[in-house]
Symmetry: C2
Subunit: 340 residues, 2 copies
Amino acid sequence: METNRHDRILLAHGGGGKLTDDLIRHHILPKLKNDTLAELGDSAKLNLTSEKICFTTDSYVVKPLFFNGGDIGKLAVCGTINDLAVAGSRPVALALSLIIEEGLEFELLEKILTSISRAAAKNNVNIVTGDTKTVEAGAAEKIFINTAGVGVRLPGVDLGCERIAPGDKIIINGTIGDHGMAIISQREGIKFESQLQSDCAGIGELTCKLLECSRGIRFMRDPTRGGLAATLNEISRDSGLSIEICEGEIPINPTVQTAADMLGFDVLAIANEGKFVAIVSPESADDCLEICRNHPLGADAGVIGQVVETRDVPTVELMTRIGGRRIVQMPYGRELPRIC
Amino acid sequence: METNRHDRILLAHGGGGKLTDDLIRHHILPKLKNDTLAELGDSAKLNLTSEKICFTTDSYVVKPLFFNGGDIGKLAVCGTINDLAVAGSRPVALALSLIIEEGLEFELLEKILTSISRAAAKNNVNIVTGDTKTVEAGAAEKIFINTAGVGVRLPGVDLGCERIAPGDKIIINGTIGDHGMAIISQREGIKFESQLQSDCAGIGELTCKLLECSRGIRFMRDPTRGGLAATLNEISRDSGLSIEICEGEIPINPTVQTAADMLGFDVLAIANEGKFVAIVSPESADDCLEICRNHPLGADAGVIGQVVETRDVPTVELMTRIGGRRIVQMPYGRELPRIC
């Protein structure tokens, strides 16, 4: 069936003329509407509550575009919010940039924009500025999304690996590996695919609550690409301290574990989006855990290990369920392209 | 000749593990080094001089990657700086996000990063945060770059189309069409290609000087995609006023005009990057022009027309050299994909 050419994105929609204007005014703006964006200036003008800000960027190339628990739009909003959140700021504004392959169905674009809009509203941020480019069929795969973000740093909060000390506890706010295994299993078409669901969510509300209620938080990071293994290795390297985690304490959804075992992946190295690792002082661990467990995104939170003195080189070690110890390596990287 | 696999980007360079870390620490960081970026946090922490900021984003998909007068890296820095500049801010920080096709030569990546570094230094901004993704061969074309930017709004400066009044003068800081015609002619391989050079440059220094010295500036915009024709139509529509420009006053490089005529393009609709249109009060026009002409990026500046009352609908009209008048339409958009 031949489709009407207005059902699909044309190269000319990126040409900067009338069609670009139509695309922005009739398809993008109605979905994302807010006063700042509606000005359609070269830049958004923002009046923040502080001149101390966090600033971040992430491009999203996830494949498939839609997966159990989310889609590229929700991911692009939540991922950038989370980078702002774990750095100790309250996310306030996002910039949205689309690279669209000629021929993309408008229907698909609108589904993604609806998802972006919902995720932004849910996380109390506005899309305040944007950009749209088109490329020829074959020069990109459907759509790539970049979101950059600005957050206002929480007063009195100063997170950094240099603040970490031996004895500090390691908290994670829930099960690991859900996002990555949902994507991989969907790509592989394995049979329990439908039981796997991405944890894709914005954690800014929870991290702000934690940072406002507790002064014992030393450092936070979200274990996305490279998973918990990469994040803990980075923290160990940057703090110069070693880390011990207990296999039995790491929350893992059994279906995620089964899927990972079946496909030969280490859950520790699988990407998350909706999780944070927090390094907290020993005396604040219980309070932090309680704050987490009272929030929908922290119901499965747990203390998974602690920071210890380094004997030789900073190392991440896993205490296995059967009483052994193994080094958790920095993943090499072969694992998974296009997971986010 | 078989190339060593480390000569090229692998998918695993985007995996979030050891290879991503190598790419960032050994290839990207040394080129762009500054204290904020070197922290490699999830977000950059910035202490600005004001909580009134501008925030913008642009993705760059220009083809070819290297062209007379610039390359995708220089363009990505200058383009985003210019969006901040024309909104009335001093650009201070950029976020850099790369989407790289598997197989891209490291040598090419390093050339682009060197160019980014030079352009950032020249324009007095830092790349403070970034992201790197890889996609399979064929899923993108070599490299796409996103830059988002933060600028600090100049005190007392308030630009907006609602401030424009009949009688205001229209200033442009130099010749139009250079960027677009350099790209197109290089793609078409036309014979005087080597005489065409992109105007790609960062105009933040000049716009800051103008805004600091003159209170008569009502509005500025950079005529990128869609060229001068799109920008003037946008200004006319958003202000509700009409615009008259004089063909004989518009600075155009003769080679650009010849190339455009030969290939059937209207120079008014061709993209620029390094130009701004400023709408200024009649009494401040001479001062503004002098400030421009004393700056290397404003040597060919001129008053090209003026704002007039609207009789029927807001219209942009060109007074031709031979005494005629023609409507300058909003370009439709077919013109030119991947020009920036």
